[in-house]
C-alpha cells in the first residue's frame, strides 16, 4: 500500500543479514582479514549509489520470493558462498527478526529508529574503511530527508504494509525461544508492561468536561497491564542515542541462531496459498528485479583471494539434512511462469544474472544461458 516501504524493508533485512553473517564468520573461525573483506564487499554493494537510487523510488512491495533474489545476489557479492539450505536459513532468520522488530515498535515512527540502529551497527562494521562510510552516511541523510517529516499516520501505513508482507510467517527461531520473546507456536510475545510509547499516556484516567470545556469529573480504572511513563525519546539525527534496543545486534559467537522448520505451524495453510495461486504479479516482479539488480555492481573477486563456503548450520551434515527436510510450504521457489512472456525483459535479466558466478555447480543443469526461471529456481 505505502509506496515508501521498500527502503526500510531492504535496509533492515540487510542489517540483520550482516549481523548473522558476522556471527557465523566468527563461529566458523574465518581469518579476520577474509571476514572483514566479505563484510566490506557486501556493505559496499548494498550502499551502491545507483542501487540506492532505484530503491528509494516510490514503488509497491513485491513478494518475499522476489526480494530473496536480491539478497542471494548480495550474499554472493564477495568471496563467500552459501548453499541453498544456508541461504534459506539466513533469509528465515532475517525476516523473522525484522518481523519481530516491526511488531514490537512502540510507535510506528520507531521503525525509523530501528533502521538507524542497523545503520549505526553497519558503520561499526566498516569503521576502518572511510570510503564506504561516506556511502552509508549518504543513505542516512536520504532516509532523514524522506522519512523525517512523515506523519504518524503515514508511518502506520508503512508499518501495516510491512506487516502484510510478514503475515503468516511463524518460523521458530531458537534465540527468540530461549529469550522467551517467541512462543513454541511461533508467535511473538507481546508484553503488557513497561514504558508506554513516547507521546502516549499510561492508561487508567477518564476526564469528563462540561459544555464550557471545564473538567468536571475525573475517574480512574485498572487494566491488568503494568505500564510506566517513558524516560526519553530516541534521536532521529545522524548521530545520537536511539534509546530503543530493537534493531541492535542480538547475536554473539556464543548465541548462535537456529531455526526450526521441521515442525511447521498449522497456520501455514495461508502461506501455502501464496505459492500455489497463479502469479499475475510475476511480470512486474521481473521488471523490479531487473531494475534493482541492474544497479548492483558486483565486484569480481580478485585473483589472489580464495573463496570459502559459509555454513549457517553447526555441521555440513546438518546443512544437508535441513535441505532435505525443508517443508514444501516454506520453499522460496518461484512459481513457473509461461515461457513466452516478456522475452525482452527475460533476456535482459538473463544477461544480468548471467554475471553471477557460481563457484560450485548447482544441482542438475543450470549454468549460464539456461532458462531464466530455472536460474532463479536454482538460487
Amino acid at each position: 500500500m505505502s509506496a515508501r516501504t521498500l527502503p526500510l524493508l531492504f535496509l533492515n533485512l540487510g542489517g540483520e543479514m550482516l549481523y548473522i553473517l558476522d556471527q557465523r564468520l566468527r563461529a566458523q573461525s574465518i581469518p579476520g582479514e577474509k571476514a572483514r573483506k566479505v563484510m566490506n564487499d557486501i556493505i559496499t554493494t548494498m550502499f551502491n549509489k545507483k542501487f540506492m537510487e532505484e530503491l528509494f523510488k516510490p514503488q509497491e512491495l513485491y513478494s518475499k520470493k522476489a526480494l530473496r533474489t536480491v539478497y542471494d545476489r548480495l550474499a554472493h557479492a564477495s568471496i563467500m558462498r552459501l548453499n541453498q539450505a544456508s541461504m534459506d536459513k539466513l533469509y528465515d532468520l532475517m525476516t523473522m527478526a525484522f518481523k519481530y522488530q516491526v511488531l514490537l515498535c512502540p510507535r510506528p515512527k520507531d521503525i525509523l529508529l530501528v533502521t538507524f540502529n542497523h545503520l549505526d551497527a553497519i558503520k561499526d562494521f566498516i569503521c576502518d574503511a572511510p570510503g564506504i562510510l561516506n556511502q552509508v552516511d549518504e543513505t542516512f541523510r536520504q532516509l532523514i530527508e524522506m522519512y523525517g517529516c512523515l506523519s504518524a499516520g503515514e508511518f502506520q501505513l508503512i508499518r501495516q504494509t510491512l506487516l502484510i508482507f510478514f503475515q503468516d510467517m511463524h518460523i521458530r527461531v531458537s534465540i527468540f525461544l530461549k529469550d522467551k520473546v517467541q512462543n513454541s507456536n511461533g508467535r511473538f510475545v507481546l508484553p503488557i508492561s513497561g514504558p508506554v510509547p513516547w507521546g502516549t499516556e499510561v492508561p487508567g484516567v477518564i476526564r469528563m468536561f462540561n459544555c464550557n470545556g471545564d473538567e468536571v469529573k475525573r475517574t480512574e480504572f485498572t487494566t491488568g497491564g503494568n505500564y510506566v511513563t517513558p524516560q526519553r525519546e530516541g534521536s532521529f539525527e545522524l548521530y545520537g542515542d536511539r534509546v530503543l534496543k530493537l534493531g541492535t545486534n542480538m547475536y554473539s559467537v556464543s548465541r548462535p541462531a537456529e531455526t526450526h522448520t521441521s515442525e511447521s505451524s498449522k497456520t501455514l495453510a495461508s502461506s501455502a496459498k501464496e505459492n500455489i495461486a497463479p502469479n499475475p504479479l510475476a511480470k512486474e516482479e521481473l521488471n523490479f528485479l531487473a531494475r534493482l539488480l541492474g544497479g548492483l555492481e558486483i565486484k569480481k573477486p580478485g585473483g589472489s583471494e580464495t573463496g570459502f563456503r559459509l555454513n549457517l548450520f553447526m555441521t555440513d551434515e546438518e546443512e544437508e539434512q535441513a535441505a532435505l527436510t525443508r517443508p514444501e510450504e516454506l520453499s522460496y521457489k518461484v512459481v513457473n511462469i509461461e515461457a513466452t512472456e516478456e522475452p525482452a525483459r527475460r533476456a535482459e535479466l538473463e544477461r544480468i544474472l548471467g554475471d553471477l558466478e557460481v563457484a560450485e555447480p548447482c544441482a542438475e543443469s543450470c549454468g549460464k544461458g539456461e532458462d531464466l526461471l530455472a536460474l532463479m529456481d536454482g538460487l
Binding site: P58, Q167, I206, R207, C211, S270
Partner: protein
C-alpha cells in the same frame, strides 16, 4: 463481566488494518455474517448455526489486471437493501449482503507511475437512508446514491473537507439537525455532516497531533479512537470535547457502539479490548463514560472488534496474524 466463548476459525489470518472486523446485524434479527480482511481477499462467514459449521466465502479484490490489497470491508444497512462494500487500492466494490454477486465497481484514478502518496479507498458507512459514503486516500469522500434495487448506483456528491487520507466514517440514522455523519482522517481531523440531497458540513473538530483510526456516532455523541491510545468523546452538534480517556497503551484500531445501551467497545495494538458505558446525565446534559470490563487477548495486536448484538451482551475480536475470531459474551 464477559467470558470467552468458542472461537470461529478463519480461512485466512487477519491483516493489520483499522476496523478489520465487520458484522452484519440486520435490524431486529440475530447476527448474520462476519467479515475480515486478509491481504487481497475478504473472508465472509455466515454466523448461522454453531461455530464449527460456519460457511465461509472468500471475496478477492481483483480488477483490471492483478490483485490489489483490500483496506476495509463493511456491511451497509439501508432501509431498502443491505450491501457489502469492499475498499481496496484499485477502487470500491459493492456486493449483495452475502457476498454472492458484485453489484457495482468504482475504479479509482491510478496514475501510471506510483506516486509517493499511496492511493486507496478506506472508510465505509451507510448514511441518510439511501446513501453509502466511502473515503479516499486523498481525503475526499464519495457519496453514492443507492437505488432500492438493481445496479444503477451513481456518485451523487464528493465531499472535500479533509486533506489527509480518510480512516473511518460513521453515521447514525434519524438524527436530523444534530449531524448524522462523521468522517475521520489520518491527521486526526473530524468532520460532522448533515446528510441529504446535498450534504452540508456542520462542524470541523481539529486534530491534536494523532491519527483518528476509528469513529462511532451515538445519540449525538462522537466516540473517536486515536493513535496515542486515547478515546475522546465529542458533542456532534457543537464539536466540543466532552471526555478524554487514556484508554490504551498503544494505537487504537477499532471502536464499536451498541446502540440499545450505549456500550462502547475499543480494541488496540496493546492486546486489550475494553468495554465502556456511555450515558448522558439528564440534569446537566453532561456526557459520562465509565469503564466496565478489560479483556487481554494474549500476544495479539487487536485489529477489529464488534458487538454481536444491539445491547452489547456479546462481542467478537480479530487480531493481526490470527486465523480465528475470538468471541465473548456476558455472564
Amino acid at each position: 463481566m464477559y467470558r470467552r466463548e468458542k472461537s470461529i476459525a478463519l480461512r485466512g489470518s487477519s491483516s493489520a488494518l483499522y476496523n478489520n472486523l465487520s458484522v452484519l446485524r440486520p435490524p431486529h434479527r440475530p447476527l448474520a455474517f462476519l467479515g475480515s480482511v486478509h491481504g487481497p481477499a475478504v473472508t465472509v462467514l455466515s454466523a448461522a448455526g454453531d461455530a464449527a459449521g460456519c460457511a465461509q466465502r472468500q471475496l478477492q479484490a481483483r480488477a483490471g489486471g492483478g490483485a490489489s490489497l483490500v483496506t476495509q470491508a463493511a456491511w451497509c444497512v439501508l432501509p431498502a437493501r443491505i450491501l457489502l462494500v469492499l475498499t481496496c487500492q484499485k477502487g470500491i466494490q459493492m456486493y449483495e449482503s452475502d457476498g454472492s454477486i458484485m453489484v457495482y465497481w468504482h475504479a479509482l484514478d491510478i496514475p501510471e507511475h506510483p506516486p509517493a502518496q499511496a492511493v486507496f479507498a478506506r472508510g465505509i458507512s451507510a448514511a441518510g437512508e439511501r446513501f453509502i459514503c466511502v473515503g479516499l486516500s486523498s481525503g475526499m469522500v464519495l457519496v453514492f446514491d443507492i437505488p432500492h434495487k438493481g445496479t444503477n448506483i451513481t456518485v451523487s456528491e464528493v465531499l472535500k473537507e479533509h486533506h489527509n487520507a480518510i480512516t473511518d466514517i460513521a453515521a447514525e440514522l434519524g438524527q436530523a439537525g444534530a449531524g448524522d455523519l462523521v468522517t475521520a482522517d489520518d491527521a486526526g481531523t473530524l468532520c460532522v455532516w448533515s446528510s441529504g440531497e446535498e450534504f452540508s458540513l456542520l462542524n470541523r473538530i481539529p486534530a491534536f497531533g494523532w491519527t483518528c483510526s476509528s469513529v462511532r456516532l451515538w445519540n449525538g455523541i462522537i466516540a473517536a479512537g486515536y493513535g496515542n491510545g486515547q478515546i475522546r468523546l465529542y458533542e456532534a452538534a457543537t464539536g466540543s470535547l466532552r471526555a478524554e480517556v487514556s484508554a490504551h497503551a498503544r494505537w487504537i484500531y477499532a471502536l464499536d457502539l451498541a446502540p440499545a445501551t450505549g456500550k462502547l467497545l475499543s480494541g488496540a495494538e496493546d492486546s486489550f479490548v475494553h468495554v465502556w458505558k456511555l450515558s448522558r446525565n439528564p440534569d446537566t446534559d453532561d456526557v459520562e463514560i465509565e469503564h466496565c470490563h478489560a479483556e487481554c487477548v494474549t500476544d495479539t495486536q487487536i485489529c477489529g472488534a464488534r458487538f454481536c448484538d444491539p445491547e452489547g451482551n456479546s462481542f467478537a475480536v480479530t487480531g493481526y496474524d490470527l486465523s480465528e475470531i475470538f468471541c465473548y459474551s456476558q455472564v
